[in-house]
Symmetry: none
Subunit: 228 residues, 2 copies
């Protein structure tokens, strides 16, 4: 954070592990509180507070006060894009270090990210859809095929209703524990809602873990068989 060209400033801000973890957590698109971010980064609240003000000072974060909470989110899509570019470069360079994602196995397996399913199962879902050509396009830009629509209809998801929403139906989200794409957007949300509605899974309170029942597990595996 000394003087220097502007990209050095950005680099040093992103370059701290705690801050990087916060940014990555925020890439879900969800706004998180300072406490949540502190836990995500593995530091105390005081330290997190300091980091957050630095991130905000650099224009990477946006703050929203709400009651006695303070929600932080990425400032805009530009920031998310740059972060994604960095993550992509890092991944291609094989620069994976320690901490290949959340340590908690349950978190790795299935967790909520924004309002959709992330973790192993999230990736499996996406892979499975793609494998069976229910999706078409690339990892970052894809759409439903006709077969895909039919499949989702069977599952009880009203695709046409989703398409009437403002936000994109199909949107990708990069899973940083798996380093793989999974499903976000309106469809991602609808899928998770449906899983919960069907009794396959439920959210564990005060955590991002999604707990699948054994029945739900089986049903999930039937609808979204593992590609391997």
């Amino acid at each position: 954070m000394k003087e220097g060209p502007d990209i050095a400033l950005l680099g040093s801000v992103i370059g701290d592990p705690a801050r990087a973890n916060m940014l990555i957590a925020l890439m879900s698109g969800k706004a998180l509180t300072a406490t949540e971010l502190a836990s995500e980064a593995g530091v105390t609240l005081q330290t997190a507070s300091s980091h957050l003000s630095k991130l905000e000072g650099a224009g990477l974060l946006q703050q929203r006060k709400q009651g006695r909470h303070r929600y932080f989110a990425l400032a805009d899509d530009d920031v998310a894009e740059v972060l994604e570019a960095l993550m992509g470069l890092a991944a291609r360079r094989g620069l994976m270090r320690t901490r290949p994602g959340p340590k908690d196995p349950a978190l790795r397996r299935a967790r909520v990210c924004y309002n959709h399913l992330a973790g192993d199962l999230g990736v499996q879902l996406f892979d499975s859809l793609q494998q069976r050509q229910l999706l078409t396009g690339t990892d970052t830009d894809f759409a439903l095929t006709d077969a895909g629509r039919e499949f989702l209809d069977d599952l009880g998801i009203d695709v046409e209703a989703l398409e009437r929403e403002r936000r994109p139906v199909c949107k990708s989200c990069l899973d940083w524990s798996e380093r793989r794409t999974h499903m976000a957007g309106a469809l991602g949300t609808a899928l998770l809602d449906r899983f919960i509605g069907l009794g396959w899974a439920e959210r564990v309170p005060t955590s991002r873990i999604i707990s699948f029942s054994s029945k739900g597990q089986k049903a999930f595996e039937t609808y979204f068989p593992s590609v391997n």
Copy 2:
């Protein structure tokens, strides 16, 4: 550079001012020696050596031994892209710090950036095209109009040939001395080549400066009149 997610590693590598200056210098696309980079960064050779090995360790740089010189260059276009994204973000955030660009007036006036023209004249070129509606679209995403094609044809540039290349014809590049958009992409390269081919200008060896002759200067001004 402690432990942490991979983007933290990249960030911290980029985050040092000396290293950032080196990277920026290398964005010209030219390979530079350790000594040159040390001077560019404003540190001694020993310090530069240490930085260079770190940059190389992070996969950002490529090294080529030649005689008793060592030439360093950006590892590939991915790296350049990420750096450009960072510079763009930094500029948009208004994070301008010290060093509002190259100090050398000649460098500020006209220099090569990758393979296209940057500096005052590069910005003037772009503005002029835009002003006369030879380009359509925004600063970051634009295309040639029919009038634009005709104009370039007059200048002796084969636009259709450019369109057969793989890389985009129209691409913007943010000039960090001017903090303004200028023309990159296949067209940017073709334009610079043409200026040199017409004898308007030439590259000054072992620097990024582009030197316009007085005739070339006039011709340039005729074709790309200053907007003001």
